[in-house]
C-alpha cells in the first residue's frame, strides 16, 4: 500500500513515524480528498477518545488555569500551522515554514490586537477583499443601480443617485479595508454554515457587518445586529440583501465585547428574542 492517499488512515490515528507524517502533511496541502478524509477521521478519533474518557485529577484544572495565566498566546498566523506543524517535539511552529508547500491563506484572518504594524493589516485587508470579492460587490451594487435605472425609465436622477450611492458605499468600504488599523473578525453563521465578518477601523470610526450568503427571511422577520457590552444593545436591522453590501454598525461596536446577529420580528426588538445565529468577539483596541 504505497499509495499516499492510503496514508490518511494511519496518519489519522497517529501511527505514522515522524518523517512519514511530515511527508503526508506536505501531500495534504495539495489534496482535497485527503484533507476531507482526515477531517472526517478526526471526528472519529474524537469519539474514540471519548470512549476512554476518564475524570482528570482534581488539581489539574487549577494547575492548567494558573499556567495559562502566565503564558502568552501566539499571534494569528496561517492557521494551518496549528494542526499541521505540531511537530514531534510538541512545539507548535510559530511561523509558517517557508520551505514546506503552503496552501493559500484562509479567506478571512482574525487579527490579533497585538499587531500594530501596517503590513499585516494590509495583508489581512487584501485577504478580506479577495474573500468577499469586493469586486463582486461593486459590480452587484452598480448592477443593482443599473437595474433601477432600467425599471424607472423616466427617473434618470434616481438612477444616477443610486449609482452614486453604490459607488460611494464601495469607496467607503475600500477605504475601511485599507485603513492601517482595520480589524476583521469572522464567524460561522449557525443556520447556514456560511461565514459572516465584522470589519472595524477605529481611526476611521467605521464598523460594518457583511455576509454574502444569508438567506432571505420570510415577511415579518428581519435580521438584527447587536453590540454586547456584555448586555445586548440594538445595533442595526437589515435584510439578507443589505448584508451582502455591508451593514453599518454604530460606534458602540468599538467598545463592545462582541457582536451578535439574531432573527427578530420586522422592525427589530429592544432585546433579543432568539438565540444568536452569529457571534464574534470584538478585538480590543491596542
Amino acid at each position: 500500500m504505497n499509495d499516499l492517499h492510503e496514508q490518511a488512515y494511519p496518519y489519522a490515528v497517529g501511527a505514522l513515524p515522524r518523517h512519514q507524517a511530515e511527508e503526508f502533511e506536505a501531500h495534504l496541502v495539495g489534496c482535497p480528498w485527503c484533507d476531507t478524509e482526515v477531517a472526517e477521521l478526526r471526528d472519529v478519533t474524537v469519539e474514540l477518545s471519548q470512549s476512554v474518557a476518564t475524570p482528570a485529577p482534581a488539581d489539574l484544572r487549577g494547575a492548567v488555569l494558573a499556567a495559562i495565566a502566565q503564558t502568552p498566546q501566539q499571534p494569528a498566523t496561517s492557521s494551518l500551522s496549528t494542526l499541521r506543524g505540531s511537530s514531534a517535539s510538541g512545539e507548535v511552529l510559530p511561523q509558517p515554514d517557508d520551505s514546506a508547500p503552503q496552501r493559500p491563506a484562509p479567506t478571512v484572518l482574525p487579527l490579533r490586537r497585538s499587531q500594530p504594524q501596517r503590513l499585516p493589516a494590509l495583508l489581512a485587508a487584501a485577504a478580506v477583499l479577495a474573500a468577499l470579492a469586493i469586486g463582486g460587490w461593486a459590480f452587484q451594487s452598480q448592477q443593482k443601480a443599473q437595474q433601477t435605472a432600467r425599471e424607472a425609465v423616466q427617473s434618470q436622477q434616481v438612477a444616477e443617485q443610486a449609482a452614486q450611492q453604490a459607488a460611494a458605499r464601495t469607496e467607503r468600504l475600500t477605504e475601511l479595508l485599507s485603513a492601517p488599523d482595520v480589524k476583521t473578525v469572522s464567524g460561522r453563521i449557525v443556520t447556514t454554515g456560511g461565514n459572516g465578518t465584522v470589519v472595524l477601523s477605529p481611526s476611521q470610526q467605521q464598523a460594518v457587518f457583511v455576509a454574502t450568503d444569508l438567506p432571505d427571511l420570510p415577511a415579518g422577520r428581519t435580521y438584527e445586529a447587536w453590540t454586547l457590552d456584555p448586555k445586548p444593545v440594538p445595533a442595526a436591522t437589515f435584510s439578507a440583501q443589505e448584508a451582502k453590501t455591508a451593514v453599518t454598525l454604530p460606534p458602540a461596536a468599538f467598545d463592545a465585547s462582541s457582536v451578535a446577529i439574531t432573527i427578530e420580528p420586522a422592525g427589530g426588538s429592544e432585546a433579543p428574542t432568539t438565540k444568536p445565529i452569529f457571534t464574534v468577539s470584538v478585538p480590543q483596541q491596542s
Partner: protein, 214 residues
C-alpha cells in the same frame, strides 16, 4: 457528575449538552458545537474564563486518551497540562474551517502523548503496558461506568462490533500510541496487513458513527 458547558452570557439561554441516547438530531448537535466555536473565538482573544469552559467540556476526553497512551497517571497529568497550555498558546491560530474544537484539541492531546511515549519508552515496557491495558478492561469502577455509559457508549458499541483483528490494530495504534511498524512487530504480521486493518476499522467506524448521528 455531568460536564455541562455553562452559559457564557446571562442573557442567552443555557445550552445544555444533550445526552439522551438515540435522540440526537442535527440542531442539537449543532448547539454544543456552536457553543464551543464561540468559546474558541473568545479564547483566541485571550479570555481565560472561556478557556476554563473549554477545559470543563474536554478534560475527561483529553485526560482519558493521554492516560490510555501513557498508562501512568502522573505522566498523564503532566502531559495533559502541556496539552492545554499548547491549546491556549495556539488558540489564535485555530480555524474552524479545519475542524471542530474538540477534534483540534484531541489531535494535540494524542500527538503529545504519543511523542512522550515514543521518545521515552523501550518496546519491552510498551508490551508490558499492553497487557496491563487488557487487564484493566476487566476492572470495574462504578463511577467510571456511570460516566462512560454517558459519553462513549455509542462508539464503544461500534468498536465492539469490529472484527477482532481490526479492533486490536486500532487499540494498539490509537489507544496505545504505536507506529504501524510497531503494531506489525507486536502482532507479527506484515506492514501492509496492519495498514489495511487500521484503514478498514476507521472506515467502518466512520460509517457506523456517521449513520448514528443522522
Amino acid at each position: 457528575m455531568t460536564t455541562t458547558l455553562t452559559r457564557l452570557d446571562p442573557r442567552w439561554p443555557l445550552l445544555a449538552h444533550q445526552r439522551q441516547a438515540g435522540t440526537v438530531d442535527c440542531m442539537r448537535q449543532q448547539a454544543p458545537r456552536q457553543e464551543l466555536a464561540n468559546v474558541m473565538t473568545r479564547i483566541a482573544a485571550g479570555d481565560q474564563a472561556a478557556f476554563a469552559h473549554l477545559y470543563d467540556a474536554t478534560s475527561r476526553t483529553v485526560f482519558g486518551i493521554v492516560l490510555s497512551v501513557l498508562r501512568d497517571r502522573a505522566q498523564a497529568e503532566e502531559v495533559a497540562q502541556e496539552v492545554y497550555v499548547e491549546a491556549w498558546r495556539a488558540a489564535p491560530c485555530y480555524d474552524a474551517n479545519l475542524g471542530s474544537p474538540t477534534g483540534w484539541l484531541n489531535t494535540i492531546a494524542h500527538r503529545r502523548a504519543v511523542d512522550r511515549v515514543r521518545s521515552a519508552e523501550r518496546s519491552t515496557a510498551r508490551d508490558q503496558r499492553h497487557y496491563e491495558a487488557e487487564y484493566m478492561k476487566y476492572s470495574v469502577d462504578t463511577a467510571d461506568l456511570v460516566v462512560k455509559a454517558d459519553e462513549g457508549q455509542r462508539v464503544r458499541q461500534a468498536l465492539e462490533s469490529l472484527p477482532e483483528a481490526q479492533r486490536t490494530a486500532l487499540q494498539l495504534a490509537y489507544f496505545e500510541g504505536r507506529t504501524y511498524r510497531e503494531v506489525a512487530e507486536f502482532l507479527e504480521v506484515p506492514l501492509g496487513t496492519v495498514k489495511t486493518r487500521i484503514r478498514d476499522a476507521l472506515k467502518r467506524l466512520k460509517r457506523q458513527l456517521g449513520e448514528a448521528s443522522r
